[in-house]
Amino acid sequence: MSFDAAYEALTDHDDDARWAYGTGFADPLAGVDTAVPQDVDRGDLSAYCVALGDDALIMSHRLQQWVTRAPELEDELALANIALDLLGQARLLLTRAAEVEDAGRDEDALAYLRDATGFRNVRLVERADADFAHLVARLLVFSAWRLALLDRLTTSTDPVLAAIAAKGVKEVTYHRDYAAQWVVRLGDGTDLSHDRMQAAVDAVTPLVGELFVPDRVELRLAPAAVAVDPSTVRSEFDAVWAQVLQAATLQPLAAVAEESAPGGTGRDGVHTPALTEILAELQGVARSLPGSVW
């Protein structure tokens, strides 16, 4: 195959194939029955899918930033695969959100054309990781929390959300194990690795509380079993967190007030400056060259 032919094979001429996801990517929910159950508020369901999708999208982007920087090739592959799983979940959720919203937007419009104040992700996913210990501590908190949420969402009365969650549970189970095993290996390792892992646990602790603060959308959708009130997964999360810290010979940081969320949470659109930095990178090309293909 000549170089020209190889290049030709990478591109296609589908009008819907923007550069953003490579070429030729179609609606990930194509052919899925996407009816919205009766009595479910479309605005609330859409906002909820956006929140869960934004968590996955921003966490995925932070993980992608570790590619070429991970300590071992195997871990680089692991982080890239975890990032890919989360990006897949984000695409499904944002596509669902756009369909339910029915306002002419699609997954790309939601991912690339909203400003930071329009994002609904928790602030935990925004943080840049100072080192690998900080990364695995944050990934453990994120995946233990998300797994507990997704596990309950497998019985959501929105069938599409339930189906997305059922796939996600299988994936995030592996993500949580990966992070937990690294926390144990570093915590129960050398004096140096133990101290650095403890520092990472201490640093992530203030970001934990926000994960369990329900927002208005979750409180409205939870009684009809469309959404999960995150405060109900706190004990499950705590059990996992305690089990890992004990195996890792690490101490929970009891002295730190986790988060009282003054001024609102990420779910209310209140974010750290880190999100603006991420969006500048994530959205830069899409905004400067709208509709481009490659």
């Binding site: 179609a26 695969n81 799983d85 989360l86 897949g88 979940q89 596990d151 069938p159 059922a166 796939k167």
Partner: protein, 162 residues
């Protein structure tokens, strides 16, 4: 050849030794005259091969004479490695990839945490040694893990149970 037979012979772009039928992602083929509706399910949410699979199915069916081909996605029930056929498992092993064991099942309660790398007996597909070790839980794709055989000293991939 029936549309079902044509669709069943299309291979997976990442694991080309397997057909879509071997992999268990082909969920239905409905044919009516020159019109075909094929239903597939993704392995993982982020699987980047889904678009290629849709294109390959469409092309194979058009070449077989079906003018109207529609490929639909179903998300539920979620794919499990238990759907990889017996023939598919033999093809994986023949290609040096360890086939998956039974997928984990959970009656109720929280998803169990695994704090040590898997100690399940995964036999080396090269030399048959039953006692191998896991190097990494993620390999070239999310669906495979990386292992090493201490006897023949070869690394190999294993399709993870999900």
């Amino acid at each position: 050849m029936t549309a079902a037979a044509v669709a069943a012979r299309v291979t997976d772009p990442e694991l080309p030794m397997l057909t879509l039928a071997d992999l268990g992602i082909l969920r239905g083929v409905d044919e009516s005259g020159d019109r075909v509706v094929v239903t597939i399910t993704p392995t993982y949410s982020g699987c980047p091969a889904m678009q290629t699979i849709q294109d390959d199915l469409t092309e194979a069916l058009r070449r077989a004479g079906y003018a109207q081909v529609e490929v639909r996605t179903v998300l539920t029930p979620a794919w499990t490695t238990d759907w990889i056929t017996a023939a598919g498992r033999l093809k994986l092993a023949a290609a040096g990839i360890s086939p998956p064991g039974a997928a984990p099942r959970r009656a109720s309660g929280p998803v169990p945490l695994t704090l040590v790398p898997s100690r399940r007996a995964i036999a080396c597909p090269q030399c048959g040694n039953p006692d191998t070790e896991e190097i990494a839980a993620f390999s070239a794709t999310a669906c495979r893990s990386l292992h090493r055989c201490p006897v023949c000293r070869e690394p190999f991939e294993h399709v993870k149970e999900i």
